[in-house]
């Protein structure tokens, strides 16, 4: 038995020039599952007498919505950001939990003589995480520009009042870039580390020993989905807030 750890997802085959990786298939499958569940909810949606399934979905959604409102502080903003945050949460959660379905590692695909696992934790593909992070970060920048105006937005980074504030403005640029790195690598690192840890433990002792680590993985699967969605909301909230300094400036103008 050989320990096989790769940072990148494995390419299964090519459609035209598009390389199809195992995580790409995984994300499609998970999307399809979520879409199917949503369509089912939509179809069986009853107005006044919800069934068990609808109750569960409603509980999840209204709970998440109330939580988003409590973070962002305004119903209007919450309504705008909630669909994205909820989608991120559900997608990451389902993708993470799907890795705990047993027997996946046994399914392999033969590519030119070497066997490649078809299923891989979707969030252990940096590409997928990077896409979601970019959506969040670009959205945050758009919100910031919309709230502060293009000049106010640029003024936050290029400030010539004093050398110190100029330096702090430059640090803000670094901070924005660091946001991309920390947000994406947090999710990727956690899930990838969980996968590697599980693989190593399985490699060392296949029975019972990996169990505690799997529980840990289960916890981090839920927590990371939660954290990613909440951080998205928090970043949007921070971007959409008008700082006191600006208010003072506006008042004095």
């Amino acid at each position: 038995m050989e320990l096989n750890i790769s940072l990148a997802p494995d390419i299964l085959f090519y459609i035209g020039s598009l390389p199809v990786t195992n995580t790409l298939i995984g994300s499609f499958v998970i999307s399809a599952v979520i879409i199917a569940a949503m369509l089912l909810v939509k179809k069986r949606l009853k107005k006044d007498t919800p069934g068990k399934f609808q109750n569960l979905v409603e509980f999840l959604m209204s709970g998440a919505y109330d939580f988003v409102v409590s973070i962002i502080g305004s119903e209007k903003k919450a309504k705008k950001i909630f669909p994205l945050a909820f989608t991120l949460f559900i997608f990451i959660l389902v993708a993470n939990l799907a890795t705990f379905i047993p027997g996946q590692a046994a399914v392999t695909f033969n590519r030119g003589g070497e066997s490649v696992a078809i299923f891989r934790a979707v969030m252990a593909d940096y590409g997928m995480v990077f896409v979601m992070t970019m959506i969040t970060v670009i959205l945050v920048q758009i919100v910031a520009i919309a709230v502060h105006g293009p000049f106010g937005y640029m003024g936050k980074f290029f400030n010539f009042k004093s050398p110190l504030s100029f330096f702090l403005g430059l640090m803000d640029i670094v901070g924005e870039l660091a946001k991309i790195v920390s947000l994406s690598f947090r999710l990727f690192g956690n899930i990838f580390a969980g996968e590697v840890l599980g693989a190593v433990m399985l490699f060392l002792a296949p029975f019972l020993v990996p169990l505690p680590f799997m529980f840990l993985g289960l916890l981090s699967a839920v927590v990371q989905a939660f954290v990613f969605a909440v951080l998205t909301v928090v970043f949007v909230k921070l971007a959409s807030e008008i700082e006191e300094e600006e208010l003072v400036e506006e008042a004095s103008m």
Binding site: L7, V181, R186, G189, V223, F226, V227, V230, L231
Partner: protein
């Protein structure tokens, strides 16, 4: 020392040292949150999510260390 071995050593040290701070920090966050819940159990619904968020933010440093070690290894 070979360059390859030095890289591996550097990456390991980077992530190892980088994980110390957030480890301590997250432990403090968790202990304080549990203290708060112990004092006021009704507020646990509010404290736990905030604890996870602040722990995630404290984790950033370890993530930067992870990125650095990945860059050292593959960059």
């Amino acid at each position: 020392m070979e360059l390859e071995a030095a890289k591996m050593l550097g990456a390991g040290i980077a992530i190892g040292l980088g994980a110390i701070g957030p480890g301590i920090g997250e432990g403090i966050a968790a202990s304080k949150a549990l203290e708060a819940i112990g004092r006021n159990p009704e507020a646990s619904g509010k404290i736990v999510p905030l604890m996870f968020v602040s722990m995630a933010i404290a984790e950033s440093t370890a993530i930067y260390a992870l990125v650095i070690s990945l860059i050292i290894l593959f960059g």
